[in-house]
Amino acid sequence: MIRPGRMIREVLESLFKKAATTKYPLVKAVMPDKFRGKLKFYPERCIGCKMCMRDCPSNAIIIRKVGEKNFEAEIDLAKCIYCAQCVDSCPKKALESTKEFELAGLDHEKLKVVFSAETEDTVETKA
């Protein structure tokens, strides 16, 4: 049967429903558990095999030797495509995906993040 205005009932019912959209920056978005967000690096676990560098599709990660058994990672968040292949490739689980996703910025240089083991905790310094 053909009739005009077939959606009218659904449409009017919506008036009394909660909106499906959210006011995003005011209401935080929740990421799923397996979400591949900004990477985290644990320098103490790294053995410097550089498998992550080799497999990275966009050459976003650089592992540098800064001392005896001490490595630091420089991750270019602008180049990273967040595929988390490096997390899979790492034999010692020195890399990890976090749920952080709001990474936009105005300065390209600030998107290069260096993780190093200068202190007890993993500190994050800007390159």
Binding site: G5, R6, M7, I8, V11, S14, L15, A19, A20, T22
Partner: protein, 313 residues
């Protein structure tokens, strides 16, 4: 003189109708969003859009006729606001009222469409020209049903003055009910006049970008958009005055409240209608108007004539 100037510029002139137009736009957009299960814009969105556009640079295309191009938004806005003065709003008397003002109002309300045509045509852009041709084609389709079903209540009231019509219907309130079919037809025709879905053919975004308004920017576009808001309010006011002329003799305060309710009711109906349809093609729109709307409007006219005959005898 001072009062006349106040009436024209501030109340119920440009300032009032501009603010009211923005309110109507907000109600329309918010309701449209809510009907689609969205949050929708905040209350200041129409004002923010207006301020943003006013702050932008006006660009006149090199090939366009600069005079016509820049004049048209002003003409459109003036035409619609003038029509507003002749419509009885919250009392039974309009600001300017004379015998035959009904025809003048209908005439003034075609001016925006004509300016869309001229502005679009003289933009010299292909999208604008197609949009212009479409808006004038559409004009011939919806204008006849709109005229016929606005004239029907006038025939019943035996006057060509909107103010006298409201006086008549306020003394014979039950007669207004005979025009409900006309109200529905006028509402659909108004969708065409306001270029809203399913009749937004002249500015069909996915086909011809923005139609007439493709080349407009900055203050000129702000004026045009304001004109569309105002047109919506004027159209809704006309429908309210002609088809919903109730409670206009209770005095200004009650009348003003009732007026707002009536206009926003018409605006809400327009929003619901534009939510539930897909855009028609121009040929489908024209055949719909001539096959169904025009005959229905004639029937309304006939019904009113018969009622008038019975009432007189």
């Amino acid at each position: 003189m001072a009062i006349a100037l106040f009436n024209i510029l501030i109340f119920p002139g440009f300032l009032f109708i501009g603010v009211f137009g923005m309110l109507a736009e907000y109600i329309d957009r918010k309701l449209y969003a809510m009907l689609q299960n969205r949050v929708g814009p905040p209350w200041y969105q129409p004002l923010a859009d207006f301020i943003k556009l006013v702050a932008k640079e006006d660009i006149v295309p090199e090939q366009a006729d600069a005079r016509v191009f820049t004049l048209m938004p002003v003409v459109a806005l003036t035409g619609t606001v003038t029509a507003f003065f002749c419509i009885p709003l919250w009392g039974t008397k309009a600001l300017f009222s004379f015998n035959g003002d009904l025809v003048v109002v209908l005439y003034l309300m075609t001016i925006p469409t004509m300016t869309y045509f001229l502005g679009g045509w003289y933009s010299r852009s292909v999208f604008s020209m197609i949009g212009a041709a479409r808006s004038i084609t559409q004009l011939f389709a919806y204008e006849i049903p709109l005229f016929l079903c606005v004239l029907a209540p006038a025939m019943l009231a035996n006057t060509w003055s909107l103010s006298e019509m409201t006086v008549y219907y306020n003394s014979h309130p039950w007669f207004g009910l005979f025009n409900i079919a006309g109200f529905v037809i006028a509402l659909v025709a108004l969708l065409g006049k306001l270029e809203k879905v399913p009749f937004d053919i002249p500015e069909a975004e996915t086909e011809i970008v923005a139609g007439t308004f493709t080349e407009y920017s900055g203050r000129l576009l702000a004026l045009f958009r304001m004109c569309i808001d105002v047109e919506m309010v004027v159209g809704a006011s006309l429908l309210a005055a002609v088809f919903l002329p109730f409670g206009m003799h209770y005095g200004s305060a009650v009348g003003f409240g009732l007026y707002l309710v009536k206009v926003l009711f018409v605006v809400a109906l327009l929003s619901v209608l534009r939510t539930i349809f897909a855009r028609l093609r121009i040929d489908q729109m024209i055949s719909f108007c001539w096959k169904y709307m025009a005959p229905a409007a004639f029937l309304q006219l006939l019904a009113d004539l018969i009622i008038k005959g019975i009432h007189a005898s």
